[in-house]
């Protein structure tokens, strides 16, 4: 279900212009991220889709129809809504929270609860949490319940207003991964608001950068916005590392992967002049054995120096560069989908590949 903003303006009675003549076309089945500094009208724009805010002029079209033609309550039951602090109902159990919209839409109690239980599983929560109350959950779990509640009525559109910004970074990344995994399966039209450009780039199929005063600065794919910011505002907002972050969208095809000397944990490594990569019986990397190390008897993890990040073959070149830069041996470990060592790359090899890449940042 596509969403279209047509010349939408929102002016508040005190004269503040929250959204200024916004034209934006959101494609069906994609994640579109509205990103910008505070005061750019991203939340206001989002809330005009489900009529929590009414535009002063212009129109918001959902599936080609002006949202103002619909009864607000009925419209909202057909649009999933997730907010920053989840906003779970404290007096209702997790299961009843998730069943809210199905019950409002007149499903039977039993069917609504069955659907809610199913949803908990989909968002990766154990079923026994269903009988708990929101106060008994961690922040990350509460957000998952918030997502489950928004998905319960099977709405084709999902509005998410900074849903992950109140949880710590590790949990946030887990939730982001989960959202991408869910989206692969569900194919919803998701409008996602954030002030975090990294989150926008990570999640969005398309990114709309808004500037203070509520006008659209740039709308395009994340790669596009990072590589070709239209003006100083966008360039400043996407940040100084945008060259590096742009590597997230570049394939690592041209990088030559070399063999890497390995030693097996539990074996007797002997002595060698260079760094050697220790692997377990499954061929997965466990750490590095420094040059000229003398191991007494068999090799154990205690003899090793911790490794850097791993680069999974077939993913973007950014991971390959990071693997090389973070490795104590200067060799980025390349693994296959099962985590087994394929070979190694040096930072030089990665940079050579970037420079000769037709779409690289340098030649753009």
């Amino acid at each position: 279900m596509g969403i279209e903003f047509r010349g939408v303006t929102k002016t508040y009675p005190n004269g503040t212009v929250a959204v200024d003549d916004l034209d934006l076309s959101i494609e069906d089945g994609t994640i579109t991220v509205l990103v910008g500094p505070s005061g750019c009208g991203k939340t206001t724009s989002l809330r005009m889709i489900n009529r929590m805010v009414e535009p002063t002029s212009g129109a918001v079209l959902l599936d080609g129809r002006d949202v103002r033609e619909a009864d607000p309550a009925v419209l909202r039951r057909g649009i999933g809504y997730v907010i920053q602090h989840a906003g779970l109902f404290p007096h209702r159990t997790v299961l009843n929270n998730v069943a809210t919209v199905p019950l409002l839409s007149g499903w039977g109690r039993r069917r609504a609860r069955e659907r809610a239980a199913e949803l908990l599983e989909i968002v990766g929560l154990p079923g026994e949490l269903g009988d708990r109350y929101p106060a008994q959950l961690s922040g990350g779990q509460q957000q998952r319940v918030g997502v489950a509640r928004a998905l319960a009525a099977d709405a084709p559109v999902l509005l998410m207003d900074e849903p992950f910004s109140a949880v710590d970074p590790v949990v946030r990344q887990g939730l982001q991964d989960e959202l991408l995994r869910l989206q692969e399966r569900l194919g919803k039209t998701i409008v996602f608001v954030t002030h975090d450009i990294d989150e926008a780039v990570r999640l969005g199929d398309r990114v709309a950068v808004l500037r203070v005063g509520g006008s659209l600065a740039q709308y395009g794919t994340p790669a596009d916005v990072l590589r070709h910011p239209v003006d100083d505002f966008v360039a400043g907002f996407v940040g100084r590392d945008r060259g590096y972050r742009g590597l997230s969208f570049l394939s690592a095809e041209g990088v030559r992967i070399e063999d890497v000397p390995t030693v097996r944990l539990g074996g007797e490594p002997g002595v060698a002049p260079g760094w050697r990569l220790a692997v377990n019986d499954a061929g997965q990397p466990r750490g590095w054995l420094p040059p000229e190390s003398i191991v007494d008897g068999v090799l154990t993890e205690d003899d090793l120096v911790a490794g850097g990040s791993l680069y999974r073959q077939g993913t973007a070149i950014r991971g390959a560069l990071d693997a090389a830069l973070s490795s104590p041996a200067g060799l980025g470990v390349v693994v296959d989908d099962d985590g087994r060592v394929v070979g190694a790359v040096t930072a030089h090899q990665v940079l050579d590949a970037i420079e000769s890449h037709p779409e690289s940042v340098g030649s753009a």
Partner: protein, 236 residues
């Protein structure tokens, strides 16, 4: 003084018949109950409306304070002069007394509901009434009842003014005792009134615990199970 009180208490005549303590307590409770119900019928809807819509909050708090400043005895006397009916004067006086605490409790209760929760309820597609009854009222019920508790305490203490305009209730002991210089009756009346107030307050405190939704108790950490650790993040 103590002996006068003991004499009064040990006189079986004071514990039976239409002038006895049980009858007076019932009369007293009747005034309290009538005043409370009428006050609640007025104050709860107004408090819900103001809390739910957020309109008129300043006016409400201001007029609440102004009403509180009215001395009930003076008001009842004035009303008696206007209506020349004891019951109307006494009950109206008590209603005016009980409205501010109930109004304040209801308004504060609805206002205290987390804005995110209300926003989520609206965004899920709840209509105004559904939001009020399914979300705001259950969550704010403890504070609403807190207002009722305050009102009851004040009503029990003040319902004695009914006797001043010729009605019955525990106030009889005070008014008549003072008139007859029967201090035993005065003190006993005061003590019975205080005991009645404490008993009702304890009952309402119990009711407040019963209506507090479990999830809200866990969230505010006022119950024993609030100490339970939030479960650890399982999958992220």
């Amino acid at each position: 003084m103590i002996t006068e009180l003991a004499d009064w208490v040990s006189d079986p005549a004071n514990w039976q018949g239409p002038d006895g303590v049980p009858a007076r307590v019932l009369e007293h409770l009747g005034y309290v109950g009538l005043g409370l119900v009428l006050a609640a019928v007025i104050a709860v809807p107004v408090g819900l409306f103001v809390g739910h819509t957020g309109r008129g909050g300043v006016l409400l708090v201001g007029s609440g304070n102004a009403i509180r400043a009215l001395p009930t005895l003076g008001l009842v006397t004035f009303l008696f002069l206007v209506f020349t009916d004891s019951l109307v004067a006494a009950i109206v006086g008590l209603v005016v007394l009980a409205i501010p605490p109930i109004l304040a409790g209801t308004y504060a209760g609805i206002q205290a509901v987390d804005r995110d929760v209300v926003d989520a309820a609206e965004g899920m597609g709840m209509r105004g009434w559904q939001r009020l009854w399914r979300i705001e009222v259950p969550i704010s019920l403890p504070l609403v009842l807190g207002g009722v508790r305050n009102a009851v305490l004040q009503l029990v203490a003040t319902a004695a003014v009914a006797a001043y305009v010729g009605l019955d209730g525990l106030g009889r002991y005070l008014i008549d005792g003072l008139a007859n210089l029967d201090y035993g009756a005065v003190v006993a009346g005061a003590i019975v009134t205080a005991l009645l107030a404490v008993t009702l307050d304890l009952l309402l405190a119990g009711a407040q615990r019963v209506v507090l939704p479990k999830g809200v108790r866990l969230a505010t950490g006022t119950g024993p199970s609030a100490a339970a650790e939030p479960t650890r993040e399982v999958t992220a």
